[in-house]
């Protein structure tokens, strides 16, 4: 089955999905927080668009609701909250130095290939439209995770986390035609609460370590001093 056999809607779904993937890479490479938030908002919008397209293609009305939810949450509300937080924390001009950006980008690419390879058996099922969307969404999820691994900024980590969720939404919408409504609502609620809590935590972290550099959150570790066997410390 080649692209030519697919409907226009499906083709546009592919295009949009590819753009989502692109935005993931954009996030990975972006060093300015505000730009990252913007990229994230675009990603959310793209996911919402995919969902809406799927809704129209599959004639599933509750997907529209889902698309609207995604759009509100991921493209508007959360970016807005992040934006506000960044201003409040005075991080607009913060530029994060990412060590070995090329390596990370290459790793991202490798992850995409890996995801494709993993999902291949599923794609062979020849289940219309869905086939490689799953690979894309999986890549988005893992790229989000990779971003969290690569970034030291708490806000960037949160963006990475949210971008993972975008991948999930993409998968849910594109591959399965949307989850049951109660689940969608629940997930959306959780995401919202999480976003609020993240805001709370940024403030708490800044209060406690005067920075949002997660590498400085390293008090709780097992690695340093050792205890000598068999000794009972002090009486």
């Amino acid at each position: 089955m080649t692209l030519m056999h697919l409907s226009l809607t499906e083709q546009s779904v592919f295009v949009l999905a590819a753009l989502v993937l692109l935005s993931s890479f954009a996030l990975l490479a972006q060093t300015r927080l505000l730009s990252a938030v913007h990229a994230f908002a675009w990603q959310g919008a793209l996911v919402a668009a995919v969902t809406a397209l799927m809704a129209s293609a599959g004639d599933e009305p509750h997907l529209y609701l889902s698309a609207a939810l995604t759009l509100t949450l991921k493209a508007l509300l959360i970016p807005w909250m992040l934006h506000r937080l960044i201003r409040r924390l005075a991080l607009e001009r913060h530029v994060e130095t990412v060590r070995r950006p090329a390596v990370i980008t290459l790793a991202g690419a490798a992850i995409v290939v890996f995801c494709y390879w993993v999902v291949l058996p599923i794609a062979r099922l020849e289940l219309a439209a869905t086939r490689n969307i799953l690979a894309i969404s999986l890549s988005v999820v893992l790229l989000g995770l990779l971003m969290m691994v690569a970034r030291r900024q708490a806000v960037s980590q949160v963006i990475g986390f949210m971008s993972m969720e975008n991948g999930l939404f993409l998968a849910a919408a594109a591959a399965t035609g949307g989850m049951p409504l109660v689940v969608e609502l629940g997930v959306a609620f959780d995401v919202l609460v999480a976003a609020v809590l993240f805001g709370v935590f940024f403030l708490q972290i800044r209060d406690s370590i005067d920075s949002l550099d997660v590498d400085r959150l390293n008090r709780l570790t097992e690695t340093d001093t050792t205890t000598v066997p068999g000794t009972e410390a002090r009486p």
């Binding site: 058996p121 995770l145 691994v149 709780l220 690695t223 068999g230």
Partner: protein, 667 residues
């Protein structure tokens, strides 16, 4: 359910009640002290009666209790083997019950509540009784571990001393390892059977390599508890740490429970025997006997010395068991039975004399608060009764006729001397070597106890505490008298005892020791009268006769009281107490001859004109078995900490990597 089994269960119930009573009494535990030990005595008597019943009964009574797993209620059964060990526990419990009231009153002023001591003693004894009665692996393990844990609390009872805490920890750790090995051993059998009750295990019949695996696990597990070399190092730490009457129970009885477990597992449950096992048991047993004796000789702490001597005696028991395995597996069933009877006899003997000695040490500790031999001396004049009973204990443990220790060692020798009947030349030359080690052990033990008795009870007092020591109360003396009389009786009248023990191999192996008792109560002839015989009553009689004869014939000297004078002073200053030969000095030749086996740290410190001699003797088992394991665990635990580096990005990396690897694995 026969009456004997009911009695045995009643003994357990009484002990549990006693423990509960002590816990409930809390701070007022010292007030119910007498009642508590009355209950212990009652439980001991019940166990003793039940044990005799078990040995006499022809068909073992069995029943189940409404506890345990839904599909595996607790099975109990009282056969001859259980009966024998019940008897053993009962005998010592009675002694402890007599000894306890006054001894524990001496502890009442400490900061540690007696309720803890009493409560866990109850659980401890109940645990031991239950182990012996258990007829399924689950109940066995429950009781076994209960016994371990309860005794752990007893070892840690006087926990303000760091050494006791350390000993307790080590003890519990080793007990846990041993327990798990045993559990695994049962698991191996159960994997080939249809359940965990002993009947199913007995009929499991695993294929050959697996029986050996099961045997090895059981040997390690029970051997660890019994204190076999090289896993013995916890024992001399733990046993002395507990209050003395508990040490008596631990050394005298708990080690025997381990022996019971081994016999039950190997002889009863684990199908066909293999001669290789016998060789393994024999080797380890000999090593334990030798190392135990050697370390006992060089100790200066009385209770520690006794604990090492327990290692030695358990080694002797295992030599007997090893011989039995060798003979049984090569088809010499009768000889195997002799060796088994010898091992059981020695187990009983050791229970008696080791408890006697620990109670004696307890009496000394009670009246002088002294454990170090180097400070003792002349106790015989101050504590004549304790001294007499302790002497009987020493003579018994040194395996001297006509006391009980000799009978069991003699039986062991007798079975080993039949090695010529074996077909394999290797075995034929191996057995005598084991027995030569046994002989060496016997001589070393004699040296150790000459030292103990000579330094502690004879000579002159070396410290003020000892000078102030007074004879202990009637109850404590009665406890020792009870055990001392038993030691003598079992030595002089071995025939009835052997006849009683005979029920065990008859039920276990289907063959008895009929010829040993065929020639009347006077003669003990394990194989045949022409081969070897021992008439203990006659020996005693002849000794007495010779004594009487000498006194009669040399009567003119008898009438005169000996004149008293000072000891010979070589023409120098009159000897004082500090010039006496010390315990360390006594052991010096042996220490020097067997120096390779010890880790001796000897030094002379010279500070400000006075020289001070320092001597430390360490057990090589520490550096070769315990420390490396501890180090390995420590190193491994240091290794794993990089998992918890503190950086959240690394943690996320773990998550990502795990996911990728798993996806790769399943694709």
């Amino acid at each position: 359910m026969a009456i004997s089994l009911q009695l045995a269960l009643a003994a357990i119930a009484v002990m549990l009640c006693a423990g509960a009573l002590a816990f409930a009494a809390g701070a007022r535990a010292s007030r119910i002290n007498d009642l508590y030990f009355l209950l212990l005595g009652a439980s001991g008597t019940l166990a003793l009666t039940a044990g005799l019943g078990g040995l006499m009964a022809s068909t073992p009574p069995a029943t189940t209790l409404p506890f345990g797993l839904p599909w595996l209620p607790w099975h109990v059964r009282l056969d001859a083997l259980s009966g024998f060990f019940l008897l053993l526990i009962g005998l010592v419990s009675i002694a402890v019950a007599l000894f306890g009231p006054s001894y524990v009153r001496g502890l009442a002023h400490g900061r540690d509540p007696l309720s803890v001591l009493g409560g866990f003693t109850g659980l401890f004894v109940a645990g031991m009784l239950t182990v012996v009665l258990a007829d399924d692996a689950f109940l066995f393990m429950v009781a076994w571990e209960l016994m371990s844990v309860a005794s752990y609390f007893l070892v840690a009872f006087q926990h303000e001393q760091a050494a006791n805490r350390r000993a307790a920890l080590l003890y519990l750790l080793m007990a846990h390892i041993g327990g798990l090995c045993i559990l695994l051993g049962f698991g191996v059998l159960a994997a080939f059977g249809h359940g965990f009750d002993f009947d199913s295990l007995r009929n499991a019949l695993p294929p050959t390599p697996w029986t050996t695996v099961a045997f090895a696990l059981a040997f390690i597990g029970f051997g660890m508890k019994a204190g076999l070399v090289p896993l013995h190092a916890w024992l001399p730490e733990a046993h002395p740490a507990a209050p003395s009457h508990i040490s008596a129970l631990m050394s005298g009885v708990m080690l025997k429970v381990a022996v019971y477990g081994f016999i039950r597992f190997v002889f009863d449950l684990n199908g066909d025997l293999h001669w290789g096992w016998g060789v393994a048991v024999l080797t380890i047993g000999s090593a334990s006997a030798l190392m135990g004796a050697l370390f006992a000789v060089v100790q200066t702490d009385l209770k520690r010395l006794l604990a090492y001597s327990s290692v030695e005696n358990v080694g002797i028991v295992f030599i007997g068991l090893g011989l039995s395995l060798v003979f049984l597996s090569t088809g010499h069933r009768l000889l195997g039975v002799i060796a088994l009877v010898a091992a059981l006899y020695h187990a009983l003997n050791h229970a008696l004399f080791k408890s006697l000695l620990f109670l004696g040490a307890g009496a000394v500790l009670h009246s002088s608060h002294e454990r170090d031999l180097e400070h003792m001396g002349g106790l015989l004049r101050r504590m004549p009764w304790t001294g007499l009973f302790f002497l009987i204990g020493c003579l018994s443990i040194a395996a001297l006729p006509p006391f009980n220790g000799f009978v069991s060692e003699w039986l062991t020798f007798q079975s080993a001397l039949q090695a010529w009947q074996l077909d394999s030349g290797v075995l034929r030359s191996l057995l005598p070597i084991a027995v030569a080690i046994l002989a060496l052990t016997g001589a070393l033990t004699a040296a150790a106890f000459v030292k103990v008795y000579g330094v502690a009870f004879l000579g002159r007092a070396r410290s003020r505490r000892i000078r102030r020591a007074r004879e202990v109360s009637l109850g404590m003396r009665a406890a020792q008298a009870w055990l001392a009389v038993l030691c003598l009786l079992l030595g002089v009248l071995p025939m009835p005892v052997v006849a009683l023990i005979d029920a065990v191999p008859r039920q276990l192996l289907g063959i008895g020791l009929a010829q040993a008792t065929r020639h009347g109560w006077l003669w003990l002839t394990p194989v045949a009268p022409a081969t070897a015989s021992y008439a203990a009553p006659l020996i005693l009689l002849c000794l007495a006769f010779a004594w009487w004869l000498v006194r009669m014939l040399l009567g003119r000297a008898r009438l005169r009281r000996p004149r008293r004078s000072d000891a010979w002073d070589c023409g120098f200053a009159p000897p004082d107490a500090r010039m006496q030969y010390s315990a360390t000095a006594f052991a010096q030749p042996i220490r020097r001859v067997f120096g390779v086996l010890f880790r001796i740290d000897e030094s002379i410190q010279n500070d400000s004109g006075t020289s001070r001699y320092r001597l430390q003797i360490a057990d090589r088992a520490w550096e070769s078995f315990y420390v490396p394991v501890a180090r390995a665990v420590q190193a491994a635990s240091r290794r794993v900490t990089w998992l918890q580096s503190g950086s959240i990005r690394v943690y996320l990396g773990w998550s990502l990597a795990t996911l990728l690897i798993l996806l790769w694995v399943i694709s």
